[in-house]
């Protein structure tokens, strides 16, 4: 094993995060909720083990012995093991919810990833290509910018040049979960209020994949361009259906924009639930089915959107809403999170199948999702899997059953 000298491991961490690292009791209770543990059973990639390893790095570079006698060399293998462990995580935040002292791991893991990126050890595999892909095509999948809306956007729907409501489709929805974003637009159209969108060249990545993989260099530029573009279109409310996009918009865009945003961020279920309550749309048919709703990690634990999707589903005539054993703030990751799904594909497929299996066991007719990454990965997980269930995005379903109320 080769050994390398390293500089500080704490430069990118906040004071609270440094204290959190010291506060982990190593009790291991978080492991009960960790989806990666559930499918790998490997404690070496567990939350407490990651924290233990990172403590070793801090100790070797900034501990008492390091200060008195100089920085210690850190075993290269240990650095690589840690990097793999922290990038294998789906950053779902279930460990944070279970943490007996309340460490904000959903925030901590991306920051530890960033530390490894600055040390040249991360990101892993295709994640490393994302900055270049985004710079060239506007999306992390390196798909043509021209196809961002062309393949799914309903031709009959008119988008205003300027409007108070803006809609951001997001890369994963536009390229990997088109029924979802198509549903979004159909429902927005049914609501009736004009809405605007950026052009396919200007609607670029929200920055979440870069943020979550610790590659922060481009973030300020991306965020600034997007915010200014929506501002120029007169947007007062920016609506988006992707939980990851919504999360970074609500939590981190103000930080990278360096001031409060000139518009508010709304998840599409909030927007549509309001429209239902204000009777701007109504149901034109019943759905006599048992629906089971999966809470996306970055929507529930991330930004607290929990009841709106349920309110919408419960209001559908004929529908019965079922719950997963782990729901709301305790929901189990479907495997698609944290940009890990493209690298640790097998883990993601296994996690997706756990979601499918439970939905089937509960005799649901339809699995309702509200995240494009969940939508893409759970559909992929169902291929070659004996358990089958109809998977539908919440707005895909709504677009089939609502119509405008003519006043």
């Amino acid at each position: 094993m080769t050994k390398n000298k390293h500089s500080s491991f704490t430069k990118g961490l906040t004071r609270q995060q440094l204290i959190e690292i010291d506060t982990c009791t190593q009790c291991g209770e978080c492991i009960r909720n960790c989806p990666v543990q559930e499918v790998t059973g490997d404690p070496s990639v567990s939350p407490p083990e990651k924290i233990r390893m990172f403590r070793e790095f801090i100790k070797a570079t900034e501990g008492l012995k390091a200060r008195l006698f100089g920085t210690e060399q850190i075993d290269r293998q240990l650095l690589e093991d840690f990097t793999k462990a922290v990038f294998e995580c789906t950053t779902c935040g279930a460990c944070s919810k279970a943490c007996t002292v309340g460490i904000d791991t959903q925030r901590l893991w991306p920051m530890l990833r960033r530390e490894m990126v600055t040390k040249g050890l991360g990101p892993i595999g295709p994640q490393a290509e994302m900055p270049e892909a985004i710079a060239e095509t506007g999306n992390p999948y390196r798909k043509p910018s021209l196809d961002r809306f062309r393949t799914w956007f309903p031709e009959h729907i008119e988008v205003s040049d300027k409007a108070e409501t803006g809609y951001y489709a997001g890369c994963t929805g536009a390229y990997e979960a088109q029924p979802m974003v198509r549903g979004d637009v159909l429902v927005l159209n049914a609501i009736g209020a004009p809405f605007t969108m950026l052009s396919h060249e200007k609607e670029v990545c929200c920055g979440f994949p870069l943020f979550i993989t610790g590659q922060h260099d481009m973030l300020s530029g991306l965020v600034n361009d997007l915010v200014e573009a929506y501002k120029a279109k007169g947007v007062k409310t920016l609506v988006c259906s992707c939980p990851c996009c919504v999360n970074i918009m609500a939590r981190d865009w103000p930080l990278f924009y360096k001031k409060d945003l000139p518009f508010r961020i709304r998840h599409i279920t909030q927007h549509v639930n309001d429209a239902l309550q204000h009777q701007k749309i109504r149901f034109r048919k019943t759905v006599p089915e048992r629906l089971i709703y999966h809470d996306p990690c970055y929507l529930s634990r991330g930004v607290g959107i929990i009841e709106e999707p349920r309110d919408i589903l419960k209001s559908i005539p004929g529908a019965e809403l079922l719950e997963f054993d782990r729901n709301r703030l305790d929901s189990r990751c479907c495997g698609a999170g944290g940009a890990a799904r493209k690298v640790f594909h097998e883990n993601a497929i296994k996690m997706g199948r756990l979601t499918i299996a439970e939905a089937v066991r509960k005799k649901a007719d339809r699995l309702i999702l509200s995240c494009p990454a969940c939508y893409a990965k759970v559909n992929e997980a169902m291929k070659d899997y004996p358990e089958k269930i109809l998977i539908t995005d919440i707005m895909e379903l709504m677009s089939e059953v609502v119509e405008r109320v003519n006043t």
């Binding site: 506060t23 190593q26 492991i31 939590r251 607290g304």
Partner: protein
């Protein structure tokens, strides 16, 4: 021997302070200010109340595992009362509250040994499906040795308490007194000296992190909603 114990005690204490200071230095030197953007509600009394309940009753551990909670809660509460009971060796005159708590502290001593043994067994028995921290097992084993030797002194091999107090006050005032000639006491005292450098930091930092966690959870709804 007395001087040796005195020197070792000071060394351990100095090492502990240095360790604490260097951790604090790392915290203070934090440069990144990329904090989560959250709106906060004004209901800080509720946040404090939940934090206090979380800290006193280990609410989250209770939700996670009743079996671990039982051992862990008894362990920490007993440790607290045993600590209070031991203040009689460091304070002169002994405050009334410390005298009053002696019977409770005595029972806590027995419970501490029992809960340490219980935690050691269940942590070890959890096997490969669960995370077992070797440092935690070491600390639990050390606390078991300390508490079991305390129980032995209390029930079977009573040392001269006056000599112990003179010895402890001698350490505090840098005025060495004769060490008690009781082998169980020496085991008890030396095991405690070993424990000090290994004291986990959560003992000091958990209140702040738990408070922040409760605040975050209570304000989660406000990230995307105008009001509760």
């Amino acid at each position: 021997m007395d001087m040796l114990l005195l020197v070792v005690s000071y060394l351990v204490y100095a090492l502990f302070c240095a360790r604490l200071a260097f951790h604090a230095l790392v915290w203070l030197r934090a440069e990144n200010q990329l904090k989560v953007h959250t709106r906060t509600s004004a209901d800080s009394l509720r946040i404090i109340a939940i934090t206090v309940i979380d800290l006193i009753f280990f609410r989250k551990l209770f939700i996670s595992s009743k079996m671990v909670w039982l051992g862990s809660w008894v362990f920490h509460i007993s440790f607290f009362f045993v600590f209070l009971r031991h203040l009689r060796f460091f304070l002169e005159p002994v405050p009334g509250i410390v005298t009053l708590l002696q019977p409770v502290g005595k029972i806590a001593g027995y419970l501490l040994a029992a809960s340490a043994a219980y935690l050691f067994v269940i942590r070890t028995a959890q096997g490969i499906r669960h995370y077992v921290s070797r440092s935690n097992l070491f600390i639990i084993a050390l606390v078991f040795v300390i508490s079991a030797s305390g129980v032995l002194m209390n029930g079977f091999f009573s040392p001269d308490l006056v000599v112990i107090k003179e010895f402890m006050l001698g350490i505090l005032t840098a005025n060495p007194a004769d060490a008690p000639e009781n082998i169980i006491f020496l085991v008890h005292f030396l095991a405690f000296l070993v424990l000090i450098p290994f004291l986990p930091f959560h003992v000091f930092t958990a209140p702040a992190i738990t408070f922040e966690s409760v605040r975050r959870e209570e304000n989660l709804f406000l990230v995307m909603h105008d009001k509760k």
